[in-house]
Every structure is written in structure tokens, then in C-alpha cells.
Symmetry: C2
Subunit: 308 residues, 2 copies
């Protein structure tokens, strides 16, 4: 039987890594021969979850076609966020909760997207539809994905379905959502051993809007000052990346997971449009965004509006 | 509550019209305010099904934004097959069984595609997942969609899921699949009152492959000679359409639903590539294709291969 790779997005986060693992497990139970792989190193938060539930980090690849032509994508669809040889591959399935753009196939496929807070909430449904039992440690990983993507239900992307799914998974995994959840999120804020270069690429996503190249990257913190103390160093690498990759805007977002607010450090030719997008003034490239925590639901749509 | 239009593709076929009706019914049961509309007149086959199960043909629109910004698409996703103002609309949901291409959204959405023979097979699952009872006449329309798209299970696009769905729906609708199915398909072959112009546009789909503009149109017959007797007239309108719309290829397929074979009348600058695609020779622009009945699974992929 053809090997199938199950792949999350570039600069993988906890939802992306754990969804690849849980969806690969599900597909193998359905008789497929799949392997979960990753497009980069796991971040500290993801490593905490993998370690807690006793999983190894998935193998890292940068091309799929050395292994196989057949892939399934989780937690992304836009080709610029996908494995480098995506346009040569046969995409059998996509499970996602993002907008659809820069994506196409030659043949019909299984595509399952819903406007929920986390890919794992959709994968849980597919487990149930196929009457496949979820092992305790897989349930723990799935719960970790939901906690991470919804910031423990604080994000405006979080739906009632995500909350119900997390409750169901926590009882299978036998962990307390709140105490495990805070430990998980705090693990992700341990960024002291990262260089500024690593920091801005840790969870960076690229977008093209009307021909403009934009990167929006996001890290979590429990105190803004941990990261803002390195602001000059961060601004230097932002500017360097912008000129090296011919970007029009690089937005680096620091989200305080306890308060539910963000600070933004932005640079690039479109910085005035970025001010308009968030109805704010940058002072030394920095702005405070009250109540903003979601890249997908709050940051990207505002930027797209301002640029159109 | 915002009105939502549920829309099938241009040059609507039975799956497209009936899926709009059944999915609109389902959404209304879930509390939404939707209306099924169509992007053109119903064909003879669809009218037979609507008449049999006592439905009116959906209202025809060419723009959605006179009514609303919010739409759900069934049986298509490619923008060139969609309502004319699609790029200004908010696409809330897509239920489809085709490849994904030339499609994008600004926001996350509900997207449900599977590689099955008919959109109705997927809609049946969504009825079940939401525990919504299917009325007898809606079941009859859904069954009609499956019979039409799978050519009464003869098409290579037909899966076991489509067969099981049709059996389940036929028992709710209380009709015999085979006798009703043959009557339905035969109704669609009654094309004597169509002009050649109408004939070639009845079920025409446009594609762009590597910058080349291609139209593939298909009609069903129970005897090739019914349509081939008008071949010269058909070739005239093919050539006229090609020069008027700057097409590179127009493929007109006549499928014998009793034998499961097709004849193809082709014209345009890429006719040699078309010969290669089907490993055949056109004699006076005409070729016989043994065992070919599916545009999606047999004709389009061969053309795409030959043109790439």
C-alpha cells in the first residue's frame, strides 16, 4: 500500500504537530499506511505536550516526494505554508480551520474545513463518525491542540464546539483542563534560549495580499517585558528579514496569555497601512492592542481590509 | 436574520439544482434563512425530477448581491462556474465533489468535499450527523441527483457510498431505483426541441489549463444518431463559439447512457492535443471513445495530462 505522509504547516505550532499525529493515527485505524511528519522543529509548548503524553517529535522533512507522492494536510491549505514540493504531490485530504487561498488540486479530494478554533475539534468528529476509540495519550495531544489554538478558550476564534470537544478529550486523557492548560501555555512562553532570529520565525505565517508580501508572526508571553527587553535586537532582524526577502510588512505580535492583550512590533514599507488597520499609532515601531489575541480572526482580516 | 442563497453551478444539471434544494432545506431546519436559487434554466432531466416530486424550479439569478452578501455553494467551487459576483460575496459553506481550483475566501468557512459520485451523497451524511429527518419528496430529489451524476451507477465516479446512499434514499422516497432511474435519464435525452446553440451549452464547463481556455460540454443520449444527424449544424456553432470567446478547444461529448460509451465532436487550435489525450484520431472532428462516460474522471484528467 502506498505510504501517505500527514503534514502540518511550516513553523509548526501545537495544533499542527498534534493534528498530524492524531489524524495519522485515525487514518491508520482505517487501514491506511500513514506517517505524521513535521516541517520544522517543535516549539517549547509542543515539546511539553509531547513529553507529557509520551510521544516523540515527528520526523522533520522539507520535501515529501523522496518518500511518496501521496499526502494529507492538516491545519493549513495555502501552498506557501506547505511542504516545498506541494505542487508536485497528490493531496488526498485536507483537515483545516483556516480560510482557503492559493490552493488547488487536479483531482477530487476529501476536504473538511469548519470555522472552529482548532483542527483537533474537527478530527474528533471524524473519530466519532468512524466509531474509532481515542487512546488516552492521543486524546491528551488533541486536547493540547485545542488549548493552544484557543489560548485556553480566551481567543475569539474559540467556539462552543471547541469547549465541548476539550471537555470530552480531557475526560478521556484524565487531565484537568485548567491546570494542565496553564502549564502547557506557560511552557510556550519560555523563549529565553531563542535568538531574536529564531523568535520572529517561531510561528511566522506568510500572506500575499494584492501582490504585497506580508509576514505575521506571533509568540505568547506571560509578561511583555520578557520579550520587549530585546526589542532593538528584534527590530534589527525584522529589518534584515524584510530587505532579504523583499517583504512589504513584517508584523511581530507578542500576546499576553494571562491578560488577553497583545503588543505589536512592525516594520516595512506598509507600516502606515498597518497603523490604519489597527487604528493605532506606532511609537518606535511598537503598539499596544487591547483585547487582540487572534492572528486569524483579528489581525489578518484587519490587515486585509486596510490593504484592499 | 441574514438571507443566505444556496447556489449550484452555471449550466445547472440535476445534481446542482437538487443539491441546492436539499441543502437549503437542511440549513433551514438548522435555523438558517436560506433560499435555493439557480444560475440558469433547468434541463429536461431536472424538470422531470422536479415534476415527479412536485417541486417548482428554483428562481434564476445572475448576481447574488442584489439579494444578500451571504452564499453557500453546492456542486462546484471554481469561480468561473459560479455566480458572476462571487468574488464580492461571503462564502459561508461549500459542499462539493470536484477538484478545488480558482477558489479562495477571506475567512474560514465550512467546506465539505469528498471524492464521491454526487454532492447529494455528502448532503445525506450531513442530514444524518444533524439527526434531521428527510421528507419523502426531498429524498426523491436527492436520489435523482445520484442517479443523474452516476448515470445509474455506470460512471467510474460512482462509489459504494453513492450506491448505499441511493438505496437508502429510494426507500424513503418509495420509488424503484432502476425503473425511475431509466425514466429520469431518458427524459434528459429528449433534446429534439433544442437548437444546436442550446445543445452545446446545456451542460458546458469551462477550464483554464496552463493559460489555455477549454470548454467541455456533455449531453446524454440513448442513440448517438439522434444528435449526430445534426453534426454539421453543431460544428458550425462550435467554431462560432470558439472564435467569439477566444477558446483553444471546445469538446462536445455525447454519452450513450445505455451502452456506457461516448462520441466526441471537437474543434479548436488544440485538436491535435485532444487526439493525443484520448489516443484516437478525429475523422471530420468526430471520435468514438469506448467506455468513456465521465467528464470529471476520464475526460478532464486526460486533457490536463496531454496539455501539461
Amino acid at each position: 500500500m502506498n505510504k501517505i505522509l500527514v503534514i502540518g504547516h511550516l513553523n509548526p505550532d501545537t495544533d499542527s504537530i498534534t493534528s498530524a499525529i492524531s489524524f495519522s493515527f485515525l487514518q491508520n485505524q482505517l487501514g491506511k499506511n500513514t506517517e505524521a511528519v513535521a516541517l520544522g522543529e517543535c516549539n517549547e509548548e509542543t515539546l511539553f505536550a509531547l513529553n507529557y503524553f509520551k510521544f516523540d517529535a515527528p520526523r522533520i522533512i522539507d520535501r515529501a516526494s523522496n518518500d511518496t507522492k501521496d499526502v494529507m494536510l492538516v491545519d493549513h491549505n495555502e501552498f506557501q505554508q506547505a511542504v516545498s514540493d506541494i505542487s508536485e504531490l497528490n493531496i488526498l485530504a485536507v483537515i483545516d480551520h483556516h480560510r482557503i487561498a492559493n490552493f488547488q488540486t487536479a483531482s477530487p479530494l476529501y476536504y473538511r474545513a469548519e470555522a472552529v478554533g482548532c483542527t483537533q475539534t474537527i478530527i474528533l468528529k471524524i473519530f466519532k463518525e468512524n466509531s474509532i476509540a481515542i487512546p488516552k495519550n492521543i486524546a491528551g495531544l488533541m486536547l493540547s491542540g485545542i488549548i493552544s489554538d484557543t489560548l485556553l478558550f480566551k481567543s475569539p476564534t474559540c467556539t462552543e464546539e471547541d469547549v465541548r470537544a476539550a471537555e470530552e478529550l480531557s475526560s478521556i486523557a484524565e487531565v484537568d483542563i485548567n491546570s494542565y492548560g496553564l502549564d502547557l501555555l506557560k511552557a510556550g512562553t519560555n523563549l529565553s534560549n531563542k535568538t531574536a532570529e529564531q523568535l520572529i520565525h517561531l510561528d511566522a505565517k506568510s500572506f500575499e495580499v494584492h501582490g504585497k508580501k506580508i509576514v505575521v508572526s506571533q509568540v505568547n508571553a506571560i509578561d511583555f517585558s520578557d520579550i520587549l527587553s530585546r526589542k532593538n535586537e528584534i527590530l534589527d532582524v525584522l529589518n534584515h528579514t524584510i530587505s532579504e526577502s523583499s517583504l512589504d510588512l513584517f508584523v511581530f505580535v507578542i500576546t499576553n496569555i494571562l491578560e488577553g492583550d497583545s503588543k505589536m512590533i512592525s516594520a516595512g514599507g506598509l507600516i502606515n497601512e498597518c497603523e490604519k488597520a489597527f487604528n493605532t499609532k506606532f511609537i518606535d515601531n511598537e503598539a499596544f492592542l487591547k483585547g487582540v489575541v487572534s492572528r486569524k480572526k483579528q489581525i489578518i482580516p484587519s490587515l486585509m481590509d486596510a490593504l484592499s
